[in-house]
Symmetry: C2
């Protein structure tokens, strides 16, 4: 009989972190970072588009405030959310001799946040990270909750890890520098937060759709605050996505399939908008979701100028096939979050948050 | 002023895991794994040498016991402890459709444990892991504590993460299939555990050096049990190496430099043996370490047939230069664990475990 030695790691107490949200928050970045993530050196990671728009200036400001900052950038876009970009960044940091007492500041959209976060999670087995999202999508969604990762040829986010930031800084005024269509696409994630958790929030989005489309600062700020509040409720309870956090994947089973089918030429926000309407429809056809939910979501999304139908050249069979390869599937079976009604997800059992669709997705779309 | 939203992740309670140690433990692997790490599918990761020696047979046994197992191997040796090997393994698992309900079983020496552990840490943002070390070195050291990672051209373990296994299974009889010199080299880590924590354990190793060199099963088993006990005391208190765990790096500042200088042709055990004697000498010269400690360690190591002197063709300046690039250095300054005497490390202050040598290492060697 073998001898058993039991090893019980004493984990450090959970570390709370702040999301600092407000017009002008970026001008106070040095002070915020120094406070929440003191470090000997900072690796400021960005893409080449955000570099010119914001990061070069921010880098100067941080240096002016006395922080020792190394600036690293890579080409913008999902095709660069790869292990190669991650390797390149880690190697640059090694070449510059950054030690464990360093901190990554990831400044940009979701790609920069995910790659920069994965660098922070793995460089020297993990250094501190500050997230500075500059797109509406990443403010509403990706920058909160500690998910990091990169894509592989087999799909999105197939390698990565959970690594909570020390601080998230969001200045809603910077989204004005995004392409307008991209900015609006980001609001699909806010609709999702309403759809899965809070019917009143969805109603508020409907009422303010016009102001959002005109980039009203107060309404944008309120949108970011509300979505971060909703999302953080969930990720606080389930930081490692072992249960409830799965509800944030509503719309995403179909969305990831659409992104794959279009080789990522469809934006994530558009894919999520279409995916939510499709998955609400699946729930209705299964008798799980209240009738009319899909149309209700379609109306909200169309008010924001977002697409809601699967493009005609992508068949239901193709969507189902690509969705079955998604990492949310377990043991090769296709799983999906379904709504009970607007504001509330349907739970198959008390312990489960996703529904096993087996191989039925194509017939339900 | 920005608005602050505080996010406090509720971490799951720390998960204890067992190290099952004993002659014949491997024959009970299916039962042990099924118990500690139930999973829909298992990715059995190994290298091509261990594959022929053990893993093919073990794979058949696991399948015979009803586990669904995919077998993956890569070429043996430190040169394959790379991001490329890690990518290859993740991609193979993606191609085979392994989901989040999978478990990695890493079977082999330290390289397999580190790469396989890093795959488990990052595949789909983390799956379960079982470590099955097959070399004396990895039983004594690497398989316990959750360190994972790969080397880059800039040095060893420069990317990786902390990922605790669900189970470690050690069958000391399998070390007989190692090259004899490699097996004995592994015992350097046991000497280290004595040197930093337990003078009595070091005395026991001295007494049993003859039996160890003859591969006596009971003595080997006792050595593994004692070292795992000593090491787990430390890693339990400091799972993320934020403090005390640094003491396990005794001898390793010089060791890593020697491995780099020899392009890893020097084995890790030999490098650690030489490193410990060298670093004990540094401590003596600084007046921190009791006089005679370096000689005492040299005697213990030579009894085991291990080298204790820096090869003549590697200058002290070269060792210092390579050590300064090590990730244990902070803000570019060279840091080192020093002993107070055999069985006890010297602490510079209550909060620090490593000594700042600045740029003095070369002059102290």
């Amino acid at each position: 009989m073998p001898r058993y030695l039991r090893i019980t790691p004493e984990l450090p107490p959970p570390r709370a972190y702040d999301a600092a949200i407000g017009a002008g928050a970026l001008t106070r970045l040095a002070e915020l970072v120094r406070d929440a993530a003191p470090a000997a050196r900072y690796a400021l990671i960005t893409d080449d588009v955000v570099l010119e728009l914001h990061t070069e200036r921010v880098c100067e400001e941080l240096r002016g405030a006395g922080l020792e900052v190394q600036l690293y950038s890579f080409p913008a876009g999902e095709p660069y959310k790869t292990r190669e970009t991650w390797s390149y960044l880690c190697d640059r940091m090694s070449a510059d001799g950054l030690g464990r007492d360093s901190c990554v500041i990831a400044m940009g959209g979701g790609v920069v946040g995910d790659v920069g976060g994965f660098v922070a999670a793995t460089y020297l087995r993990g250094v501190q990270c500050v997230q500075v999202p500059t797109t509406l999508l990443s403010m509403l969604d990706a920058s909160i909750g500690g998910k990091t990762g990169v894509d592989t040829e087999y799909g999105k986010n197939l390698v990565g890890s959970f690594h909570q930031p020390r601080l998230v800084v969001m200045d809603p005024t910077v989204v004005w520098t995004q392409e307008y269509a991209d900015m609006i696409a980001g609001s699909a994630e806010a609709v999702k937060h309403g759809a899965i958790m809070d019917a009143e929030y969805l109603a508020w989005i409907d009422e303010n759709a016009g102001a959002l489309r005109e980039c009203d600062t107060d309404v944008l700020t309120q949108l970011v605050v509300c979505s971060v509040e909703r999302k953080s409720e969930v990720v606080q309870r389930d930081p490692y996505e072992q249960g409830e956090r799965a509800i944030l994947n509503f719309g995403h089973t179909v969305a990831h399939a659409l992104e794959l089918a279009t080789h990522y030429s469809m934006s994530h926000g558009h894919a999520v908008a279409i995916g939510m309407v499709a998955e609400a429809g699946v729930g209705e056809r299964l008798g799980v979701t209240e009738a009319g939910t899909s149309d209700r979501l379609r109306t909200s999304l169309e008010r924001l100028g977002l697409p809601t139908r699967i493009p005609e050249d992508i068949s239901a069979e193709r969507v189902a096939e690509l969705a079955a390869g998604d990492k949310k599937s377990r043991a090769g079976r296709l799983r999906c979050v379904l709504l009970e009604r607007v504001g509330c997800v349907a739970q198959p059992t008390a312990a489960e948050w996703t529904w096993d669709l087996g191989d039925r997705l194509a017939s339900l779309l």
